[in-house]
Symmetry: D2
Subunit: 366 residues, 4 copies
């Protein structure tokens, strides 16, 4: 099979690096176009990234040779598309929110689908915010999005914030099994890679934690409602629940966000054993479609008393599975558990790639 050529917007940032690293040897996609800030533009990627590459795995030699385009220059991407080097882009842009919003729209208007990691378009009402195991059906709003905007091939699809990936799939698995989740307490302990590089100063992360991450609690409380929402009248309408309160903390961990969760169910309440069975058995569309980045089991159930732990569990199924443990009753609500996922894989670039795979399987990317 001829691989689909993809572009990376924001290719020199941390998320951009993760896309490039994870797309190495991808069976469907191949990085043929990279764009970044004007500072990097015009240089071969290998030169632009010198001394800034943060990952243990290096980039592919072919990517190193790509000449970096200016991400603000949509014409460059159009030209790349014309010469067959850019069927769609992953957006890992790092600029002002409004700038990203307009730039992503300009790419889409130019006929280039945008699969975005940025938060700028998460609350655009005709843009799907996808977790393929949960709301693959939201992808179909792209038809309406294109119609309204007058776009033919282009569109925008986004993924939610990394902080919620450690518990949304488990929550959804329970809802799917017929248990309404009404209210939810979440305390997250989030890895520093979520803040990029240089990101969090080491003086804040040696013998310390920081009980605050700007904007993170708001995202954690609101995004679940859109993800669980439904398409109605050409837009995605929020679900009524679950109501969420979030406490977000930064801890000295490189990769892997951990969440302590308490759930209140509706009238029907599962037993601890039922919850375990539901988690262990859960599969969804990405598994049925056998998408390349889909974890075999989206939820990995750990029975040890002290798991999941970031260093030991974040890489489960190449970083795409959520690990869940400590399933036990809650004194105030009904159920407590600990969820963990890899924030730069499932929670960022890996999640974006899975979204693109879904969109290709559904025919929106060609």
């Amino acid at each position: 099979m001829q691989k689909i050529p993809v572009g990376i917007l924001g290719a020199t940032g941390m998320v951009g690096q993760n896309y490039i690293s994870l797309l190495n040897d991808h069976p469907w996609f191949e990085v043929k176009f990279v764009a970044a800030s004007p500072r990097s533009a015009g240089k071969p990627y290998a030169e632009a990234i010198r001394g800034r590459w943060q990952l243990a795995r290096s980039y592919a030699p072919d990517v190193g040779k790509l000449v970096v385009a200016d991400a603000n220059d949509v014409e460059a991407a159009k030209a790349a598309a014309k010469r067959g080097d850019c069927a769609f882009v992953f957006s890992a842009l790092e600029m002002g929110k409004d700038e990203i919003k307009h730039l992503e729209e300009a790419y889409a208007a130019a006929g280039i689908p945008v699969v975005s990691n940025a938060s700028a378009n998460r609350w655009t009402d005709d843009v799907p915010m996808l977790i393929p195991e949960i709301n693959a059906a939201h992808a179909d709003i792209i038809v309406e999005q294109r119609r309204k905007r007058g776009w033919d091939k282009g569109f925008i699809a986004v993924k939610p914030n990394c902080s919620i990936q450690s518990y949304m799939i488990p929550i959804y698995a329970l809802m799917q099994a017929g248990y309404e989740v009404k209210r939810m307490f979440v305390t997250t302990m989030q890895a520093v890679s979520g803040a990029g590089y240089p990101g969090v100063p080491s003086l804040d992360m040696i013998d310390n934690i920081v009980p605050y991450i700007g904007g993170e609690e708001e995202k954690s409380e609101l995004e679940p409602l859109k993800i669980l929402g439904s398409i109605d009248g050409g837009i995605i309408k929020n679900a009524a629940g679950p109501l969420v309160t979030a406490h977000c903390n930064r801890v000295p961990v490189v990769d892997g966000h951990t969440a302590c969760v308490s759930l209140e169910f509706g009238v029907k309440k599962p037993s601890v054993d039922e919850v375990k069975s539901i988690f262990a058995a859960f599969k969804s569309l990405p598994q049925e479609l056998d998408l390349p980045f889909a974890p075999v089991q989206p939820i990995i159930l750990r029975e040890e008393a002290d798991r999941p732990q970031p260093r030991k569990d974040r890489d489960a199924d190449k970083g795409m599975a959520v690990s869940v443990g400590r399933i036990r009753p809650c004194k105030l609500f009904d159920l407590r558990f600990v969820g963990l996922s890899h924030n730069t894989v499932r929670g960022a670039a890996g999640g974006g790639i899975l979204n693109a795979e879904l969109l290709k399987a559904k025919g929106y990317i060609q």
Copy 2:
């Protein structure tokens, strides 16, 4: 003033070391007797502790010269009491729970008051579990305790677990101001010093957290009820609330337990500004009595967005004040905040010393 001579049971363990370090230059108390395991007995403390002292501050030279007694040998303590070297003991014993319970009773029966850090007697119904700012009145159950047991001078008083010290005083301040606290979610991020030495392996605390501490959640959920209880018929009866659910985690921090708290009030609910005023203004008996280890302000209010933090706030008022910040509404309950206290000072040896000061001020220790 002639200082009161005190003994330390478990003088070579981590908590014992903290007692010895904190009692250095104490205005009322002076360490004149040390007891530990048979392995250490018979040696000067300086020799017994060689290579095991964990603290930055060293012990006083006079303590180094004390010959360590066998903590199992109550007669040794009686002899020390007789020669004027042991008016009471701090128990930092590390053995089986039943052994500690019986040994503490044997000391008390021998006329030696026991101010304990151990959990063994926390649920003995005529033993007060003291946080002097909250339930100083519980000390008076000692009269009944002595009567029932037939003890003249001896008694047992304990302190609660270190995990709850970061939020119990703030909670109490609100209750004191007339706001019933009905339910409470707590997620703790606890320092490794709470597990003693060698304690938590470094392989678990580099690039990692552990979302589990054996027995800690149970203690965190139950002990508040006794602390807030009342003396009734010669025993301490638990309060009916608040109901608590706790998620306890171990994080790579040397000292300082952080707690993320969500509170549900009764009918009457304070505003965020009222809460801040109540916290900032709170004082209690230890402050009135001007006890040596009493913090000037039991609750220190931090207004910065990202505080309190363990490394920066644990030493507030010599480690005896609780720092509180991020006071904001809760999406599900009424109020959220972050509390922090020094687990080996306020949460262990320092809290024990404050208990002893209270008991002296009330005349139970002489």
Copy 3:
């Protein structure tokens, strides 16, 4: 090809776990026999290891089903050998040095070759201490070893301490190129995984380093002399040099030992550029034989100012390559550089596997 069945002595310890994990899908070897302490004996491996497995990668399901033998019971291994489940063993025994020495000899005497990670037989004069890129020829002393001891198929071969793996191959590459290394200063900064589990307490590794590792400096100073020695009169005679002084430190790193090295050459001294060329070009027998665990390039040259770093470079070529950087003149001696290798892969189980591959290629293992 039919895989060669191997046994792991000390299969539940940290090094044993690493062997099992690294041998997963090995093209030549297959774990068919596991032995550990009497405590684990008789249980399926999955049960014996429950709650003790420390690695992110799990063991193969087939290994989980193996019933653990008592490592002290050589007859059990003989029986396994007879039924075709144990052609040789990797020794990752954790017991007293003398016990290990005798036990390894007993296995060899029973006709079972021992490829050992333990230090017990490192200074036995007819036992080769192998780094295949350096002294593959030492393997041939096995002929003499068997003759003297009256062993037919059994033998003992060992690997050196993990602390020296970060610089011995680079040193050897320079010697090989004709530059005598006369004297050498080394300061190591070693990962905690080198101490096993529970190993180093977290209280020693948060906001701290420990400038001491028992026995490590002695090994670092002496072992190079045997490795670089020659077979003479049926024993391995130490080389006269290089003379080494080592400062060994423990730092808060999970995996990866870093070494700061200063070298004094003999009369002939290479330029910095020559050194770089020699390092980059170095290949040796394992590369020629294309052994499965041989790194493509034994030495990876990093040109960045601040590399190698443990987290970013330890996994180079699956943890089997040594990364070298900061090559620059020395103010006192001739050359300075920083070397880094993965202590539990190249420095322990991975190095042991490469030894076994060499010994198979040379016909000593069949």
Copy 4:
């Protein structure tokens, strides 16, 4: 005694904060003037520092009320001097090296003595680079400095880089006792506070070390020669030795630089026991003068096998003493030891304060 009013240049930076914190309750000096960048100028210090104060100890309320001046505006300092608020300044300026050099000269020319922490004037040949225990006599070059520059009251005195404070006093103690130190290998493991805030990214300091600190090795190799130099013809001439080679590393430690040192003596060589006696007995001028910040013993000898360690030893004698341990022979040179000092106290602000105390005792500051 009326306290001497002092100013802090660069009062909002990390070193400036340390000066302000350490000068709290200083018996001789009182902070009455603070200057920083134009951004902070005009605001009360409490407002300028809001959200940027990094230390556990807070600043004094009176300092919080001082209105921050623009550090570039020497006239502001002159006015402060005239009204009795600034007898001299501590320079903790953070700008380009040339700018600092000229600005410090401008202050001195304006009659305001400058006691500097910056590196800008370290190699100005009539500026003393002081460690009071070693080269207090260098202070007397101020007479010549003033004469040549035509300054009456002003002058510049500096302190050396923090990296060398962990071993220079021990080295000097040995030289003082008659043992020439000819050559010296040093590997440092340096704390992150040395890089200021935000400084080193946490992604580089979790499960990692960085074997490189820009410019640090050069300073470590050269500055000892000036410190040990002599006044000759109105300038300080470098000593001929010791020759030093330094390997400088950044490690995940908040405060406290550790150094592994190997020394080669001249013909006369001390025994390990003599070295210990020399270290333990060493006292110098600051001790004789009983300067407030002088440690009682400049060198604290640790006999434990695994000390000194940063977290346990950096605060020795309020962070002003150097802790030394692991004194043992060197395989290549003569002696090995490990030295440790607090980099932001002895190595920065505390060292600057001790310099000012010496200069006051000698009459240069009034």
